[in-house]
């Protein structure tokens, strides 16, 4: 499309000259009375912008050529940074170029006086270190630095360089407290072995350690300090060691034993040692939950110890599941209640800040996402969070959020530990791009390759290696992080980066999928500053009479309608241009019209409780309404009242309201919206219902099947601890009547379901009382209401924006690939099912008679004689000893047919042959499987994820197997209080097909045009029992 007027330019930081990506540029035409906004643009990573417009966007009576000025804002538009000094007259057909320089003071809040540079070395209690003691961890903190600038810290022993490492100053010009040298002296940068405490004291006692701070690439030492090493080791020490007391923070599961060394403890007759999941910091009052050994015993044991110095064997290494742990020691005092405390007490010896006591690694090769191949893909990006666990790996960040990286030394070639590497943040590359070119280009907004942080890879654990990578990330996009070991120099001084990703030496967060993304958060974003609120009642809108169902029934149509008389009441929110808008006529004029969302509540609910959702949707450009329904109404009556209110809204908003409807139903309303879609079509009511969200629905009024002529995109949201519509084993129905069944029966349009662990029926809106009152749950065991509400806001906004505004920025949320930051930061566990029409289904087990050896695509399924028993293909839900058919599982909430598979060796497998006519899967994006652990099965390790590998083999015999847990989880069923309601709930694992074609050292590539076999390889776990469905290739 050709525009009459064009302008472009670049926005720079006046102080540094660096381009400013991610700022909002608004162009105005200055007029006599009101200036016209002619266009807006967000600068890219090079600070560039382009705005094109036509005469109709500004023209008034005598205005042929616009007088343009530019205002520059922060990305969210809330704060103006700068306005261009003069207007510029634009002429048609001529592109005007602007260079905008933002003064330094505009980009940060100016402080009253310049901050002095400070640089402190601190101990675990955050006190300045006077002298160094062996075993203490040394922390660094600095202030008064130049923001967004990389600094180098060098450590010398008697003037000889031990190591150096880089840190990025944050937006306030500080380096937050970070580990500089964990467990000082126990490891030696110049020695290959670690020392015992006594050896370390001998080695370091009396030595002078000098630290210097420089700007990266600079020669001037900005700050320095020298500390002497004491002849005593630090008190209250506890670390994992070998049998001789040598520091050993990580062990392989194939190691023989797990030892702890302690020193300087307070005297006690007995000590309790607990192995707990790792968290960044431990404070008095934090909850302590010891893990279980593989044997099932709790990792909580008592010992008699020599409080001065002792080494004890805690466990056999192979009795501990792989993972990151901390160790807590509790002195046991006879009779004291605190011995049983579930919380950290002042007497407990807890780990150093940020320091993981123990990492139990899997076998180096088993841990790889590609079986037998060496791609060092692992999570690096993460965020700091308030509250436990204080730091969490993350792959989604909100615009403006700090991106941290924590590098795990345990996944690299062991020869690379205690070496230097350079940490690149680059735009994410596709598989084709990586295969073509492995060069690395650090983001220009971070200073380009010259400013890449060069860091020393501390041995022991990932949390010694945490660095701020991108302060205030302000450019939307997908990115990878690469740790480049360059020339692999044995000394810090000799390190040279090579700007290239080289497997297997270098580490990457990315490659198979994007490492992390920066996106606007749909849970917190807004397009409109102001919203209007119009509430109406029967006083103005009258009373409706609608058909309803008199009660629950099983067969469609199996009821006699009753008439329900309902007051027409609703709360309505809409975008506005100014505060105080209370009438539909005051809807914002910035758009011609707006899509509409209507919320249909459930029984026992109140329509006024959804205002927080309505307001958020209105800020995102929707007319959003919540309608009143009488207590006791069924699903049909709720659907009919929805139509009544759509008529009211259409009349009230007129041309400002699009015939573009989204509906959200909760509980009985959640089933009612399915009926609404069906009735809208069958009665030709003419509403364009483009999106349906169903929250904790009933499945009690007939048997709704969304699909066919009224197929509609669907998002189902359901809590695992729903105390109202909780389902449950043992009823006599053909299915557990929850949202799972409604989801399973929906066809013909894209659908997604989020199963929220510890979520409840009402916690997504108001409170968790359903779970505590009817579900037997303790409040502390549930996801908090703010957490569930965060899910509500983010997912509902993203879903409606996707299907009503074609805004596809958040597609990955609904496949379960990532969560927005507002949800991810809560730590909530969510498991997704996802289906897109047009998938190539290899087997969905729906063919009858049930025959597991014949797939629904018409080819052979075999276990090659490996499985201990034949897989069983049958209806998912079983009611043992009742009037209904036998099925696979009394705990399955699914409505349909699937496969139950059990294995007892990591050599077991199940293979689906693919017919020649279907061998070309290159047009698809993923291989997908729906999968669940069977609840109550003795073949699944308690409270542990299951995993396996999906292998594709082509016609040449080239095969590659990808680990499922590289892309999703197969979680242990949520153990809610009422055991009969625990569910074998399936979720999708989606593996990108590029995983099978991207270059991977030691592995062949699979020809996706000629795929002949899809196999489930039941490795690495020795046993398991799972239910599967929907084995397919999909987009």
């Amino acid at each position: 499309m050709k525009f009459e007027f064009q302008l472009s330019g670049v926005v720079l930081d006046h102080g540094t000259g660096k381009p400013l990506g991610g700022v909002l540029v608004k162009a105005y035409d200055r007029d006599l009375i009101y200036d016209d906004l002619v266009g807006t643009c967000v600068t890219d990573e090079k600070g560039s912008f382009k705005i094109n417009f036509n005469a109709k966007d500004f023209q008034e009576a005598f205005d042929k050529n616009p007088d343009i000025y530019l205002n520059i804002y922060t990305r969210d538009g809330k704060e103006m940074l700068h306005t261009s000094a003069e207007t510029v007259k634009l002429k048609q057909g001529i592109i005007k170029d602007f260079i905008i320089r933002i003064p330094e003071g505009k980009l940060t809040k100016p402080s009253k006086e310049p901050r002095k540079m400070t640089f402190a070395l601190l101990d675990r209690d955050m006190e300045r270190i006077e002298d160094l003691k062996v075993g203490m961890s040394v922390y660094l903190k600095a202030d008064g630095l130049k923001r967004n600038t990389v600094y180098t810290v060098q450590l010398f022993e008697e003037k000889e360089l031990l190591f150096s490492t880089d840190f990025m100053a944050n937006l306030k010009g500080g380096i937050d407290t970070t580990v500089l040298w964990p467990q000082f002296g126990l490891n030696d940068p110049n020695a290959k072995e670690s020392h015992t405490l006594k050896e370390a004291v001998e080695r370091w006692s009396g030595r002078a350690i000098q630290l210097s701070l420089l700007e990266k690439g600079g020669k001037e030492v900005l700050q320095s300090t020298t500390l002497k090493v004491s002849d005593r080791f630090a008190e209250r020490q506890l670390f994992v060691s070998d049998g001789e007391g040598r520091l050993q923070n990580s062990i392989d599961v194939k190691s023989s034993r797990l030892y702890f060394t302690t020193a300087g403890l307070e005297k006690s007759e007995e000590y309790e040692i607990m192995l707990v999941p790792h968290q960044q910091e431990w404070e008095v009052g934090n909850l302590v939950q010891p893990v279980d050994f593989r044997s099932g015993q709790q990792a909580r044991l008592r010992f008699e110890l020599n409080p001065e110095l002792d080494t004890i064997q805690f466990a056999e290494a192979d009795n501990v599941f792989p993972g990151a742990y901390d160790v807590i020691i509790r002195p046991i005092r006879y009779g004291y209640e605190l011995n049983e405390s579930e919380f950290i007490t002042v007497h407990d010896i807890r780990p150093e800040r940020f320091v993981t006591s123990l990492t139990v690694r899997e076998d180096f090769w088993t841990a790889k996402p590609v079986l037998g191949g060496c791609v060092n893909k692992l999570p690096i990006s993460g965020r700091r969070i308030s509250g436990t666990p204080y730091f969490r790996y993350a792959n989604t960040f909100t615009l403006g959020e700090d991106v941290w990286g924590a590098l795990d030394p345990e996944i690299v070639d062991p020869g690379n530990v205690s070496k230097m590497c350079a940490m690149y943040v680059i735009p994410s590359k596709t598989a084709a791009q990586w295969n073509a070119n492995t060069s690395l280009n650090h983001l220009a907004t971070l200073g380009g390759n010259a400013a890449v942080q060069e860091v020393f890879l501390q041995p022991g654990c990932v949390n010694y290696n945490r660095h701020l990578l991108w302060p205030g990330a302000n450019i939307e996009g997908e990115y990878d992080i690469v740790a480049d070991f360059g020339n692999n120099s044995a000394t810090a001084a000799g390190f040279v980066k090579d700007n290239s990703y080289d497997t297997p030496l270098d580490i990457i967060d990315g490659y198979l999928v994007a490492g992390f993304r920066v996106v606007a958060d749909p849970g917190t974003m807004s397009d409109f500053t102001h919203v209007g609120n119009w509430n109406y009642t029967e006083t103005t809108q009258g009373i409706a009479s609608v058909d309803d169902e008199p009660g629950f029934y099983s067969n469609p149509g199996g009821f006699v309608p009753v008439t329900e008389t309902v007051n027409r009441r609703a709360h309505v929110f809409f975008p506005a241009d100014a505060p105080g808008a209370t009438a539909p006529g005051q809807i914002s004029a910035s758009q011609a019209d707006y899509p509409c969302v209507v919320i249909v509540h459930g029984n026992g609910h109140n329509y006024v409780n959804y205002d927080f959702v309505l307001e958020h949707l209105a800020r995102n450009g929707f007319i959003a309404a919540s309608i009143h329904l009488n207590g006791g109404m069924g699903g049909l009556g709720r659907a009919n009242m929805l139509f009544e209110h759509l008529n009211i809204l259409n009349t009230a908003f007129g041309a400002s309201m699009q015939n573009n409807i989204g509906i959200m139903g909760h509980s009985r309303g959640g089933e009612g919206v399915f009926k609404a879609a069906r009735l809208n079509q069958s009665q030709a009511l003419g509403h364009n219902i483009n999106a349906i969200i169903s929250l904790g629905p009933t499945d009690h009024y007939g048997r709704e099947e969304l699909g066919g002529a009224f197929a509609t995109p669907l998002f189902m949201l359901y809590g695992s601890r729903d105390g109202d519509v909780g389902g449950g084993a043992g009823t006599n129905s053909t299915r557990q009547k929850t949202g799972f069944a409604l989801y399973d029966r929906a066809t013909g349009a894209e659908k997604s379901m989020a199963f929220v662990y510890r979520g409840t029926h009402n916690g997504f809106i108001t409170s968790n009382f359903d779970a505590t009152t009817w579900g037997g749950e303790a409040a502390a065991d549930l996801a908090s209401v703010p957490t569930q509400q965060a899910i509500t806001l983010a997912y509902m906004n993203a879903f409606f924006r996707k299907h009503q505004k074609n805004d596809n920025r958040w597609d990955g949320m609904f496949t379960g690939e990532w969560q927005p930051a507002s949800v991810e930061s809560t730590g909530v566990e969510m498991f997704f099912q996802y289906e897109n029409p047009g998938a190539r289904v290899i087997d969905d087990f729906q063919d009858l008679p049930n025959n597991w050896q014949q797939s629904s695509i018409g080819d052979v399924v075999t276990d090659n004689g490996t499985l201990p028993a034949n897989p069983e293909e049958n209806t998912f839900y079983e009611v043992a000893g009742s009037i209904n058919q036998a099925g696979l599982d009394t705990h399955s909430p699914h409505d349909g047919i699937g496969l139950l598979v059990r294995w007892n060796s990591s050599n077991d497998e199940l293979t689906f042959d693919i017919p020649a006519a279907d061998k070309d899967v290159s047009g698809f994006k993923y291989v997908s499987i729906r999968i669940a652990q069977k609840e109550g099965s003795a073949f699944n390790a308690a409270n542990q994820d299951q995993e396996l590998r999906l292998e594709l083999e082509d016609g040449s015999g080239d095969a590659r197997a990808i680990r499922t847990n590289a892309f999703g989880r197969i979680p242990f069923p949520d153990q809610r209080a009422q055991a009969y309601r625990r569910k074998s709930a399936m979720n999708n694992i989606l593996i990108p097909l590029t995983s099978y074609t991207i270059t991977c050292a030691g592995q062949v590539k699979v020809d996706l045009t000629d795929v002949r076999k899809l196999s489930l390889k039941f490795t690495p776990n020795q046993s398991g029992e799972i239910e599967i469905d929907s084995v397919s290739f999909t987009n």
Partner: protein, 136 residues
Amino acid sequence: MKKKEFRYIEEPTYKINCKEVIKELNGQSHLLCRLSITATGDSFIQRAMEGVIRIMYSKEDYVYSWFAEISHDGRTLHGYFPIDTKVSDWIEYGYGETIFRVIRLKANPENAMLDKSRLSKELIRVTDDYIAKVDG
């Protein structure tokens, strides 16, 4: 009318445990008798009113906890009593001055005592007199 199968929701059950414990209060170690009620199928809610446990000897004769605490997971209510409190088979709990539930046991639960020879002399032994002095 067609038959339909129904499921019974199980009644909550309660376990009683009684023992002497040393508890740190205001920085000092106190010896107390602790009676704990652990619920299955029920939970103890944190609310404005304080929890309370009563040990009943008869309808008119009872003792009640000096104070009570609810465990983190809401499953257990701990009531703290003076040492040498006799336990009975009739236990009640509630909030404020309202009794929510009466628990009748088949036998008196045991009160597990600590070995006094292993206790510090500085330990404060909480008795009725001590409580009266502290509470004023």
